[in-house]
């Protein structure tokens, strides 16, 4: 190639206009360069939620958690209060039965003396005026009423627990029939002064006992706890906000970087393509023309013609190979033209070599760019393998997309290979499929190749769609 060549070219092409005439016609560099800036480029799809939304969700969750906590703490406090109340009621009932009622249970009283009953009436009245006691009754081991401050009280058989309390002179908590919810009853076994075992039934108001304990615990605890929680949350808000923003920025930067990387490789590809197209190929063509001219001029004169012919033919074949490479290099990025169109083009190119290729795919427009790119690379590499090794006459490419993943199947009717041969090839450094597998794995997908001699080859690539939604219902 001549040394003045590139200089000449500079004068005929305006530097920086950035148009290359390649296979696809004009490929505007400008738009690509713009892409690489990555500024204000949204993520591929599925834009992250805003900081406000993130923080709002967090605050909402925290409030729900705080309410739940408050409720359970409240319930626990209530329960503790109730236990506390029943404990104090037991003490009260024991005191009432043992110290107030029992000393007045004289044989006279048991015998029905009015004076003795009056003494007990007085004592119980005084008790009910000062303590949260609403009713007191005394029964014998038959369940008959010995004495009661309620004149309507009637005989009733003793419950087993009451009988035990009577015999052992212990205390048992009972719920008398028809008792109000906020009342507690206890039956206490005592010994009358005459030695007769009797049962003293004491009923008290629990709202005075239980509620005071529980409510005071709850009301004094709740504001403090909830207030602390709220304060903690308020204190967290700025950090939370900053964190949310940073996470979002990260995601954005990453998306931009990924896009830029893709664009950069595309840009580099095109740069190489344009260099080959604008510098290398014309120079080689020119050489061939010169050689052909020399050959034609000398063809009658001497034997050099054959040499010229061979050299020119070698150059031509080199050019053809370079041009094939150029096609790959200048290939438009898949996301720009869509997977369907890219596959159709690949199929057309393959068809030109005499291999029939059918493509079954629909509604791929909504596949995220990276997924489309990977699937296309799989198809490209598979077709390359088919052309190079299989001797196939027909290739079927099918792409199916569901909500979770995209699956591409490439079937050929070629000679196939044994599974172990593939491992051999891999070991020998033929890394086409391996590299392809890595590429698919990078996207979180999987690649499988299955074949046996004479049975053709099937390549299946699955790529998950992740969080990126594919809107299946929408037609072009």
């Amino acid at each position: 190639m001549r040394t003045d060549h590139s200089g000449t070219r500079q004068s005929t092409k305006t530097p920086g206009t950035g148009e290359v005439h390649c296979r696809q016609g004009r490929l505007p560099f400008e738009s690509v360069a713009h892409d690489t800036s990555g500024r204000r480029q949204p993520a591929f799809r599925g834009e992250q939620r805003s900081e406000t939304a993130t923080v709002a969700v967090f605050v909402l969750l925290a409030i729900v958690a705080a309410c739940g906590l408050a409720a359970s703490v409240g319930a626990a406090a209530r329960r503790t209060g109730a236990e506390e109340a029943s404990r104090s009621f037991r003490q009260l009932a024991a005191v009432v039965a043992g110290s107030v009622v029992a000393p007045l249970l004289t044989p006279q009283l048991v015998g029905g003396s009015a004076a003795a009953e009056a003494r007990l009436d007085l004592a119980v009245d005084r008790l009910e005026a000062t303590a949260p006691v609403v009713a007191v009754a005394v029964r014998d081991d038959e369940g008959d009423v010995v004495w009661s401050d309620d004149p309507s009280a009637t005989a009733a058989p003793l419950q087993p627990a009451q009988r035990t309390a009577l015999m052992d002179r212990t205390l048992v908590l009972t719920s008398p029939d028809g008792a109000a919810r906020d009342e507690l009853s206890a039956s206490v076994g005592v010994q009358a002064t005459g030695g007769t075992p009797l049962l003293v039934e004491v009923t008290g108001r629990t709202d005075d006992l239980a509620a005071t304990g529980a409510r005071s615990a709850w009301t004094s605890f709740a504001p403090l706890a909830l207030g602390a929680l709220l304060l903690l949350q308020l204190a967290q808000l700025p950090f939370l906000w900053r964190l949310a923003r940073r996470v979002r920025q990260h995601a954005r930067t990453e998306a931009a970087l990924r896009k830029a990387a893709l664009a950069a490789t595309g840009l580099e590809r095109r740069r190489i393509a344009s260099e080959v197209h604008d510098d290398v190929l014309p120079g080689l063509h020119a050489l061939i023309y010169e050689l052909d001219a020399q050959r034609l001029a000398r063809v009658q004169r001497d034997g050099d013609a054959a040499l010229f012919d061979r050299v020119a033919e070698g150059l031509r074949s080199g050019i053809r190979r370079l041009r094939a490479l150029l096609l790959d290099l200048s290939e438009q990025r898949v996301p720009e033209q869509g997977l369907e169109a890219a596959l159709a083009r690949a199929a057309d190119r393959m068809a030109a070599t005499g291999v029939e290729v059918s493509v079954q795919a629909a509604d791929l427009d909504r596949l995220p760019g990276p997924v489309a790119e990977v699937l296309y690379r799989c198809a490209q590499e598979s077709l390359r393998n088919v052309a190079a090794h299989s001797g196939a006459e027909r290739v079927d490419i099918a792409v199916a997309v569901d909500a979770a993943e995209a699956t591409m199947t490439v079937d050929d009717d070629g000679r196939g290979f044994e599974g172990s041969r593939l491992a051999e090839k891999r070991a020998a450094g033929h890394l086409g499929l391996q590299a392809l597998g890595d590429l698919v794995a990078d996207q979180g997908g999987s690649l499988t190749a299955s074949s046996s001699p004479g049975q053709g080859t099937r390549i299946v690539a699955r790529v998950p769609l992740d969080d990126v939604r594919v809107d299946m219902g929408v037609q072009r």
Partner: protein
Amino acid sequence: MIRVLVVDDHEVVRRGLAALLGATGDLECVGTVPDGDQVLAEVDRSAADVVMLDLSMPGRDGVSVIRALRRAGRPVGVLVLTSFQEPERVLEAMQAGADGYLLKDARGERILDGVRAVAAGGAPIDPSVARFLLTDLRQHAGLDGLTDREREVLELVRQGLPNKSIARRLQITERTVKAHVTNILLRLGVSDRTQAALLAERHLHPAGVSGG
């Protein structure tokens, strides 16, 4: 002597082609032009019989040069010599009025014979390129041969509708649709509906504008 004007944006190529022409006794390079803008004036100045024209050039590109030459009514033969092999570019150039279309990879003799053929009123076309023309011709004939109903079906296939939807849309049975599609594929010489859809897109909706 056949007078030939060489148009290419690469100097080495212009020089090589001039040398190639110079190696013959019947062809004469009467000038070389580096870009499309100067072609018309240079044709007039040199009274060329044949223009060897590259398609991709800075400024005015090959196709619009051909159009300009034809519009100006110059009786010059145009032999496109390019590396473009895409059906669209070939069709575009031929429709603009090129007389021949050869690829730069061709042997010297082939290129020179092409120039002679154009000068003699022939149309030398590279076989791989001729294939596109033939396919295009057949597809046009195939499209022209479709019945109105088949055209309707093809249009819906182009829109990406499955047979069931097409049947509902046209109020015919799915089996009838299937028969129509089979017939359409046969007429257009394609193997599946995706290809039929692409073809319809290309011929019936060029550049997205309907009606063509």
